[in-house]
Symmetry: C2
């Protein structure tokens, strides 16, 4: 299982409908496909989504990091020696999606080589995850229509509502309309992507206090150090740290300082190896987790499901696994399907993703 | 002063002598020259040093960020509207040296346009800074020889000693040899670049307790959250946060959590605009600062001196301004000179740096 070559292939697939949220919008899935080749002929694959406004990465930076900084040091190491692989990658600061795509492609090689599903290698708790759907900014009416369609077509009953607009009553009206239309059975929670100040956040939470929301994510920046603690101390909802808690050290700081009390785990930024570290840290600290979405394509979504399905703690909440539905196409030979509100992992060796060569040829940007 | 064009030019100049330290070594100054052009014909210049092991940037990522992400949004803005320029750049996370080079080049345009030195525009406290020299890993004898040469040739009497090797007695012996050779008049402080564990760090500090050191920088990782606090609570020396405190939010977290109690300011990563925010935050919190070095070339060194000379608090300690002496050449038409242990700022419009076109042609990597 020695690594013989690592490729970083840029590709771009348009969205049918752009996703809009407080820190930006996404119209094209311009990602990097990372391919790890082993000397014994296995090929592991995963994708890295560049998110400059969340992690500071671009397609160029990911390609440069994987091919020029990581690959020369990783070629020759065995995929099984993941601690060595991470010791190499962790010399470099940041670049979380570049590191994570390499990590997950390495796990894909391990699974294929051992003839076992990666989700089984990781923990093997369940064969599927419940799905939470993210609702981007739109009018209350059209957000209700989208939620109803997701419920009726895919059986999804958990919704994460993007908030953080000004004035905040725009978002309060959306949440109120969703609760009125969908009834008390669906789960609703909110994600501000740092769009509000701490005091706006608390006023908005109070204005939504009768709507039975379950979580409030990144309403204000974690860098508003004292303001964020003030908010979390007063919030009627658990405060989820997402982009402010991307490493075990950051998780510890956010939790112990009182800046947050739930952690979002995203395989796009911590792969499998570091996601497990974050999960085990959170379990040890007595903190709930939620499997988040980095506006992943189908490859990234399957990686989230593979990790999330593997553990009891990560299956206890619905995972954010449906955003690929808004893309116009994908790279997989056998596309993902959501049914009965769940996404199943696949009982095949590796991650259960197979890239269609014709689709890759169509969407790759480097040829 | 509207921005008309921004260039990011990769260049590489070899070091005469590589600098070795706990988190890596540098053999070639492979930096990016950022040039901001204004519609009225001014050109501002600054340099960005890629430090993947400190900030996660590469030459490729800096060039991509400046030319593809920042420039399209910045062209058309006035250099005077720095808060707008930073609002654009701060949408992107990380990438500190890319942002800082743009910021300092913008200030260069402002200075040239207003016919004033940037150091005067910033604060105008002093016309020079005392210089501290960094001593990289070598044998005690050769580190003593280098320190004596720096003292005898340049009048430098403040030395930052790179430590963090294992076993730590290697570094203790160096510090002991330096104190014995240089006497009680020189200032010595240490920088571990996260090379030790918290407990090793305290043992090393105790072993050096009779050497009258003044500061201890980043001995262990700030991500060792509890261990770092434990160390800082027990350290006989003030603990300097450098790479763990690169934004105002990080500075606040490090100081209020007890992880550090002195802050290193580096214009390479916070430019002038954010360095001023960090400085004012530290002054307000009653915290000492030191002007650090990002293994800068002459352009970056002059930027440090321009900022450091401008304020009382930053001139109260020697700034780390001498590493360019180890480079084989530089881009400046009129090279920097250190004399009497000080580096003077220049009483000319802008930053006081003028790139020699012949030298740039010789060292640029994109032509």
């Amino acid at each position: 299982m020695k690594i013989s070559k690592i490729e970083a292939i840029p590709f771009a697939i348009p969205y049918k409908k752009p996703l809009r949220f407080a820190s930006g919008e996404v119209r094209v899935a311009a990602h990097i496909l990372v391919r790890v080749h082993s000397e014994d002929g296995f090929v592991g694959e995963a994708e890295a989504p560049p998110r400059p406004f969340t992690y500071g990465e671009t397609q160029d930076s990911i390609k440069s990091m994987v091919e020029k900084v990581f690959a020369p040091e990783l070629v020759g190491l065995s995929c099984l020696n993941r601690e060595q692989i991470h010791a190499v990658m962790n010399r470099t600061v940041g670049n979380p999606t570049a590191k994570s795509a390499v990590d997950m492609a390495v796990w894909d090689v391990i699974g294929k080589s051992l003839q076992l599903p990666v989700t089984t290698l990781l923990g093997g708790y369940a064969d599927r995850m419940r799905v939470s759907h993210m609702l981007g900014f739109a009018s209350p009416q059209s957000m209700v229509v989208e939620a109803e369609r997701m419920r009726d077509v895919y059986g999804i009953t958990t919704f994460k509502v993007k908030v953080g607009r000004k004035p905040f009553m725009l978002d309060v009206e959306v949440c109120r309309a969703l609760r009125a239309a969908l009834g008390s059975e669906v789960e609703l929670y909110i994600d501000g992507n740092r769009g509000w100040t701490p005091s706006e956040s608390l006023r908005a939470l109070n204005a939504m206090n009768d709507l039975d929301l379950t979580l409030a994510e990144e309403l204000c920046p974690a860098d508003d150090v004292l303001g964020r603690k003030w908010l979390t101390a007063r919030s009627p909802l658990p405060v989820v740290a997402d982009e402010s808690a991307t490493t075990p050290g950051e998780v510890t700081r956010e939790l112990l300082s009182g800046a947050s009390n739930v952690i979002s785990i995203k395989t796009a930024r911590t792969g499998f190896t570091s996601s497990r570290r974050v999960l085990h840290l959170c379990e040890g600290l007595g903190t709930e987790v939620v499997m988040g979405n980095q506006i992943d394509g189908q490859i990234g979504t399957m990686c989230s499901a593979v990790f999330g399905s593997a553990y009891k703690a990560t299956t206890s909440r619905a995972g954010e696994l449906s955003n690929f539905l808004d893309m116009s196409d994908d790279l997989l030979a056998d596309p993902l399907e959501i049914s009965d509100g769940t996404l199943a992992v696949r009982n095949v060796a590796g991650l259960g993703i197979e890239v269609d060569p014709a689709k890759l040829a169509k969407y790759r940007q480097d040829s």
